[in-house]
């Protein structure tokens, strides 16, 4: 891993320095491209990926400090390791580089042994970082991953206005009892694939998967224009996809899948819950409970989608919505108005 070559961008306004750095980098087994100043370097970084930036400070047009500032402000380039190579005078200038996010500083003329060690360490860190990013993307949604990399991880919460959607497959236990374990997992994965698709197409995120049940958030961590409308649209998309799946299943004689959706809108507490070692982004609060109760209630009233009054208010087209009798759910002091689609 450590020996794998990297692609480096050398930024220096001086010809001799560019030649010398390129040669040094190539002797270490890496490849290098060069830029004559910061502005050109930023253009190149926007065009192609690099593993490390070797950055001079004193440059016309855009100097090293300005490059460090621009990198810091760009979420895509923020994690690019920068090694400052300069003969800039004054300790305060070196300190300023480190404060602006430079990984390391090597004085010029650059010592090759030092350069090798610093480039090796930076490459290793960059690769570890890239691996972690990939993992984060796999186990968290893009929105949560972005939220994490922008704000950092902190246990704690905030109040948000959001819409919560719960869904599960009706009688899944009974259906799965007649199936081989591989087929059960296969079916759940198909269901999740469709559901993730429907939720993310409407700007929501899946926050919880338990067996055949799933909880999705709309409006957290990032606000969306109309969370209620997005959640209901996701449920409708999902119903349409399930109908298509059922047509396929009917051909091979498999039982029909039915999915129930409960949707509620209101204030939630959102944040990372758990411990410093293991945590998940989720929402809690009355709105979440209500959505879960509504989902359970779909079986009782035999409807596909049930939602609360506040969700109804968010819908521009209410013609297809019909009220079902009010319900006093467990944990709620008052009866709630409930609507079906």
């Amino acid at each position: 891993m450590r020996d794998a070559p990297g692609r480096l961008l050398i930024v220096d306004d001086n010809k001799v320095n560019r030649l010398l750095m390129t040669r040094s980098v190539e002797q270490l087994g890496h490849t290098a491209a060069v830029a004559e100043n910061g502005r050109i370097a930023m253009e190149m970084l926007a065009q192609e990926p690099f593993d490390i930036l070797l950055l001079d400070i004193e440059m016309p047009e855009m100097d090293g400090f300005e490059v460090l500032e621009a990198l810091k402000a760009d979420p895509k380039l923020r994690d690019l390791p920068v090694i400052v190579t300069s003969s800039v005078e004054g300790l305060d200038n070196i300190v300023r580089c480190i404060e602006l996010g430079a990984e390391d500083y090597i004085p010029k003329p650059v010592n090759k042994v030092l350069l090798n060690a610093r480039v090796g360490a930076s490459l290793e860190r960059k690769r570890l970082n890239d691996e972690q990013k990939k993992l984060l993307d796999r186990f968290a949604t893009v929105e949560v991953a972005e939220h994490l990399s922008e704000g950092g991880f902190a246990i704690g919460g905030q109040r948000l206005h959001a819409t919560i959607l719960f869904c599960d497959i009706r009688d899944f236990t009974a259906i799965s009892e007649t199936m081989a374990p591989e087929a059960t997992i296969d079916l759940i994965n198909t269901y999740y694939t469709l559901m993730f698709d429907a939720v993310s197409c409407q700007g929501g995120i899946v926050s919880l998967m338990v067996g055949d049940g799933l909880m999705a958030l709309f409006g957290a961590p990032k606000p969306i224009e109309n969370s209620a409308r997005s959640a209901v649209a996701a449920a409708q998309d999902m119903l349409a996809m399930t109908a298509a799946l059922n047509d396929e299943r009917a051909v091979v004689g498999e039982p029909e899948l039915r999915i129930g959706f409960g949707i509620a809108t209101g204030e939630v507490v959102a944040g990372y819950t758990g411990t410093d070692d293991r945590a998940t982004y989720t929402c809690i609060g009355k709105t979440v409970n209500l959505a879960a109760r509504l989902e359970a209630h779909t079986k009782i009233v035999n409807r596909d989608i049930l939602f609360d009054e506040e969700t109804l208010h968010g819908l521009t087209d209410q013609t297809a919505c019909t009220p079902v009798p009010d319900v006093r759910f467990k944990g709620f002091s008052e009866a709630k108005r409930v609507f079906a689609l």
């Binding site: 001799v16 016309p60 003969s87």
Partner: protein
């Protein structure tokens, strides 16, 4: 005289680390480019552009250090640190030490 113009130990180390041929190529590049840097420095001085003056002095210093050109590096560094003076920037002194340094560097190329 020659001793203080080029620290031969530094130059030998450069040739050893990078290859003699490459070191010679680097010297040639420097001898090509240095007059431009001195011109930039002069231009900066006459325009009153302190940044350009300091940057050119900085580049000369940085390159001089690569070849072990001790006297040139010292002169350029002094100019970088003191910045563009109100009157009489020591450009003539720099040009003299550069001319002497360039002569020694050329003998290294021929060697």
């Amino acid at each position: 005289m020659t001793q203080s113009l080029i620290d031969t130990a530094v130059y030998a180390e450069l040739a050893e680390a990078m290859g003699a041929e490459f070191a010679a190529e680097l010297v040639t590049t420097f001898l090509d480019d240095a007059p431009n840097m001195i011109a930039t420095l002069k231009q900066g001085a006459s325009d009153g552009d302190a940044d350009a003056y300091r940057r050119a002095a900085h580049s000369l210093k940085s390159n001089a250090e690569v070849f072990g050109a001790t006297a040139l590096a010292r002169q350029a560094r002094d100019m970088e640190l003191s910045g563009l003076p109100e009157a009489a920037p020591p450009i003539a002194a720099l040009e003299t030490v550069y001319a002497d340094t360039a002569r020694v560097l050329r003998t290294l190329l021929d060697a």
